[in-house]
Symmetry: D2
Subunit: 90 residues, 4 copies
Amino acid sequence: MMDNKDTLNRLKSIAGHVHGIERMVEEDAYCIDVIRQIQAVQAALEKVSTRILDNHLNSCLITAVRGDDPEDRERVLKEISEVFATASKI
Amino acid sequence: MMDNKDTLNRLKSIAGHVHGIERMVEEDAYCIDVIRQIQAVQAALEKVSTRILDNHLNSCLITAVRGDDPEDRERVLKEISEVFATASKI
Amino acid sequence: MMDNKDTLNRLKSIAGHVHGIERMVEEDAYCIDVIRQIQAVQAALEKVSTRILDNHLNSCLITAVRGDDPEDRERVLKEISEVFATASKI
Amino acid sequence: MMDNKDTLNRLKSIAGHVHGIERMVEEDAYCIDVIRQIQAVQAALEKVSTRILDNHLNSCLITAVRGDDPEDRERVLKEISEVFATASKI
């Protein structure tokens, strides 16, 4: 349903980044440098989220909104609203 | 198109909150207390945004997705993706 | 303690921005345009917060860390940690 | 300088979480479920950042502010201000 390959590559790169931060901590890196790397990972995760949502809007959402099941449509719209609310918070 | 009255009341309350912070600054309030009040305003703005988006999803979005204009539909979906990306960043 | 004049000007401009958003809502502006303006206000508030924190670090924090009162120092450091945690969330 | 063991455990758990999300994507999980898991990872990273900053304030910052090197002190304060600004944005 998603452009899985690109998403997967990004997630693998993010996991590699987190493992790199683990090594920094093991080697007693400077706190601020560690925080900056964590913030870089957070920015990368935001990009992945936005891409997945983009994909979701252009597939599942369209199907649900055009479909005949009002409950399904409401659920899909509610989910988007919820991930937006959470994205605003974190 | 939106539940204007509730949104308007929230925005008026937020503007009042900002004016209150102005007074705190004029009276040399403690920096951290000012920051906390600013953060409270930010949280209130997030709630307003989420409500407006919620409303938008349940009106304009449905109309556009069900409509016959593919350009209009793409525009509406792109806008939602963009405000999501911005919400993730700020 | 803060560079009050600049902070005050920024807050006045932000309050004016919020009043402008109220008018948009009264005039039934397009939801997404309203959300974008709210996001602009949020970005402006972040800048004010960062400036105030900056000022705080260079005044109150230095005084507290160099002072003789360990409780005062701990309080000031804890406050900074707390506003950082909240800033990360909102 | 940091409480490395706890930080390291948290980072390892976060990396494991990211690997789990990779598997979800490989198995074509529902987009919204993937986004929610990404948001959970983001929240966990925020907690790690806040803990590291906390530690930093109680060690490096105190040393720098009490030390005799004004450049070092300015650098440390500027770094904190910068990670705060970035935390507000992401």
